[in-house]
Symmetry: C3
Subunit: 418 residues, 3 copies
């Protein structure tokens, strides 16, 4: 289109970004930027795609789609996780449909080419005696399981600073034993906005008090920044009390052997993450309507409900690990203006619905929060497409993480030649 021909290069858009401000319009809205984002941020970086508990038993498979890529997570007969591309080496047919399957071998439905669960081609009828099967195995996908969370990198040069994420999170996640959870519930919401707006929305709680009544029972927006002068005297006193409490609690948790202090790798890095153990408000146990635990059977080796919420951000996920359950959301861009958010609620693998946990109580807060966020992202994206939009300045108090995210985004695009 003429308007695109006349429009600036992606590189010029990156140049145009002002520090401390939201991104120039085109970086949120242009289809060519979307394709570049997919290539750079979702193919050449580590992304979170699922969990070991998506495929608990040998022969369990789970297909995850990302753009035009489709990958199969599966558990081999030896109990190992495997990840392969969902593309038959014959004429390219998909082997499995999206979502879960149970398989003994991977048999292409088109012409019955048959692969072992490790991807080895073992049967290719009518191809003739000279056909060399050994060079037609399914293509493997590079992956890491970090405490049960599966990250993949679709490029041949996966960034090596994933190591810090592994080191930090393996230890933090150990007590929750996420490998031995089950998925109690899953939702998919398609947000009508760019994936970076989905992420920006998640990295501030400036919007929480007026938009997330359910979440605010257990979640403390002040943890993500505030301008003391914007608060009433009473609220300011509360905020100060909370800060003191937070310092004291962190110290105590750390002393008890639970890593709690914030660790972040947000700029000047390939692999973007942040983790911190947060205090849960109110009854202090879990992100539920009354902040008490939803599941009587605690996760992993946990015996306590007062260990707060270990949050983990990535550039395509956010997660909350609590004593009784975990909530994990992953983000898959669908187009410049559509983004899939897939959320899973995890409980102990032996927890029984209706006995150990009540599903409504378990899922209430984040179902509501996710729907509210979806509305906010749509409204935000719509406004940003307007010719009258110009980048606005982030609050230095409440939106510092957005500034870092936008800065990281620019850095990564430049690192890949834009």
């Amino acid at each position: 289109m003429m308007s695109q021909v006349a429009s600036p290069s992606i590189s010029a858009l990156l140049d145009a970004r002002l520090a401390g401000h939201s991104l120039p319009q085109g970086l949120y809205t242009r289809p060519d930027v979307f394709e570049a984002d997919l290539d750079v941020l979702f193919r050449k970086h580590w992304i979170y795609v699922g969990l070991e508990c998506d495929v608990p038993e040998p022969g369990d498979a789970s297909v995850v789609e990302l753009g035009t890529s489709s990958i199969i997570l599966l558990r081999d007969d030896d109990g190992q996780i495997r990840v392969v591309h969902n593309v038959c080496r014959h004429r390219g047919s998909r082997l499995l449909p999206p979502g879960p399957s149970v398989v003994s071998k991977l048999v292409c439905p088109y012409h019955q080419w048959t692969y072992e669960l490790n991807g080895e081609l073992v049967h290719a009828p009518h191809m003739g005696i000279d056909f060399d099967k050994s060079c037609r195995n399914l293509k493997p996908v590079t992956f890491r399981s970090i405490g049960g969370l599966i990250y993949v990198c679709l490029s041949d040069n996966p960034p090596d600073d994933i190591d810090r994420l592994v080191e930090v999170m393996e230890r933090r996640l150990a007590p929750y034993d996420i490998r031995n959870t089950k998925i109690a519930f899953q939702t998919e919401v398609i947000e009508q906005g760019n994936w970076k707006l989905t992420l920006e929305n998640n990295r501030e709680c400036y919007h929480c008090s007026s938009n997330h009544p359910e979440l605010c029972v257990s979640f403390i927006d002040l943890d993500f920044g505030y301008d003391p002068q914007s608060l009433s005297e009473e609220d300011r006193a509360d905020a100060e009390r909370h800060q003191a409490l937070y310092a004291e609690r962190t110290e105590r948790w750390e002393a008890e052997g639970y890593p709690s202090a914030a660790v972040e790798q947000l700029v000047d890095c390939a692999t973007n993450f942040r983790t911190q153990r947060l205090i849960i408000a109110g009854n202090g146990e879990s992100q539920t309507p009354d902040a008490t635990a939803a599941s009587a059977k605690l996760l992993g080796s946990m015996t306590r409900k007062d260990l707060g919420d270990t949050h983990l951000w990535g550039h395509n996920c956010w997660n909350h690990f609590m004593g009784d359950h975990a909530v994990t959301s992953l983000v898959i861009p669908l187009s410049a203006d559509r983004t899939l958010v897939r959320t899973k609620w995890l409980v102990h693998k032996d927890a029984v619905e209706g006995v150990d946990y009540d599903l409504e109580k378990l899922t209430n807060v984040w179902i509501a929060t996710t729907d509210q966020d979806s509305e906010l992202v749509a409204r935000s994206h719509a406004g940003i497409t307007d010719p009258a939009y110009e980048p606005g300045c982030y609050s230095a108090f409440t939106e510092g993480h957005l500034d870092k995210f936008s800065t990281w985004y620019i850095e990564r695009m430049r690192a890949h030649g834009y």
Copy 2:
């Protein structure tokens, strides 16, 4: 796409237009032309977007979307009309949803930035003490209310020949007092065709007799031209009688103080319009199934039902002002092949449905006509996309206004650099 790469420039398409003929295919069908049309004809010219009676009371707001632009028409506490861009100056969120709202202030739902109804930013929490709110007011939109019809121009250089439209129409509309009407009914039809075909279709009545049985009860297609030799002897005699009647009636109306003669500014201008007081056929009162008034309570200061139909064309609207009601349609292009037509039926603000007017009688003719036109535009657009299409010649008798419209279109595109 290859076919677009190889296709002629917009400028070459404009050059290719033959006088007296419909436009070259690409001007109706190409996405790049559509984007150029939106920019030139809908952002750099005055367009009709709504009515004062869309926002009758202080605090009433009405959001109109045009391409990716969204504007808020509202009535301030002092009774004045305001028009601002529907984009928060923080991170760009939409302030209000499309359609009507009632507000006391404009509060962004995202982070509670709060604006006065005149657009002034009065509250921006957590932005810090040094934040200068004064440069973050909502962006105003240039507008004119012409007898209660709101025209906006989204560019910084609004064409000044709007003045002639104002001068002509303020006087013609005065007796109808459109500012003191109410919207009795509204429809939206999405036509499957280019906006220029929607306009062309509206500017000829060559298609009326075989397509609009309801309209032809009160509307006289001959007013928009005919070839005498195409008529039967009897029809020709009728046509001649009608012309004589029209001349006599116009003279009488003018003498009574009602401007009636045709005034038009259709080529060699930026602001395209035409108005004329037309005779209503049959019972002569109104565009209803039997051509009698649909509302017993006449508009404004009117005491007579025999003052015909003051029609008004713009490049994105058509309107009919009659003694008892008015019908006003505005056109918003959605894509190269989809066009929104929003039609409103206006009655006196104090008229009561079921007492003063019957809604079915009021809306019958133009609901039917609009649906019929939608079908014609879709069929026309489909044929024009065919490789076998070549521009056809307009009838010098019945399609002279289309030739002028196409000529004006070419002029305006050239005036803006194509």
Copy 3:
């Protein structure tokens, strides 16, 4: 989009094709390739669009849409077939809607321009006395009726090697008298894949045994190739017996005056086709659930049910002519990833449903087969869009026709300047 700007030219994609392998990804998936395909393979080559029996009586018309083209097949008052573009010569409106109509003249619904069934403009009201109607006749479409099958070419230079198809098929089709059939049933399936995948899928029966249980009752997949070493000893013996039987049967049929041997023009040609008389398995009569005839009234002059299945391939069709009925499918590309397959079941024009034939029995096999193929094509297309796809090698035994088809495709694109 950036990714397209950076992507190779169509010519480079054609160069990249490896002999014996499926095509490079972009040739199946890119919108610019789709547009080029439509232009080259569907506008500049002969394509199959319908049947004489679509318009059995004078005044019958059938509109076929192909991309943005729309053509009218009709039967004139003298019984002759005519084919004209469905575009009014006035302002381009469609004259008739898609599908069947009955007309006495072709009257444009917009302004009543009226054409004879041979396309001659006979009435154009209000165009003035000097208007020359003679240069505004409907544009004719070049066509051939081959034994009742209508082929058109939308370009001015139709390939002349259609002559071989005519010569071969007129004789083969004569006994079936397709001109005197009626359409007993018709389906339209939109496959979620590129049209070349639809064709490739049709040109091999490597996928039949595991995907088409209904078809395999009467259809012999071995006829389209096999690797003897892929078969069990028993199956190999069966295959050898079948080959001997096929040779014997072909010789007998030919001796009886029924052309049966394979004739093909698949590479080094413009007009791509193949025909052969195939043995029907099982009861040997027809492609029905039990391989017996579905219609008691045989086609044309046929008196025997043991004359097998005369199959005919084109680059946009496949057909099976049997003693009691025929099944004919045509392919219309809708976009790079969507393809329409329109299938018609033909019986003797005097056959009566419920008396001479049972509709369920008649249609069962190919309704099931078409649905199964649609699923396979969708799965194939999805996998081919994956960045992990790379062209795979065709089986030399079972996919030789795909290799020829891909080779022909490359040849034709090059012949037209790519």
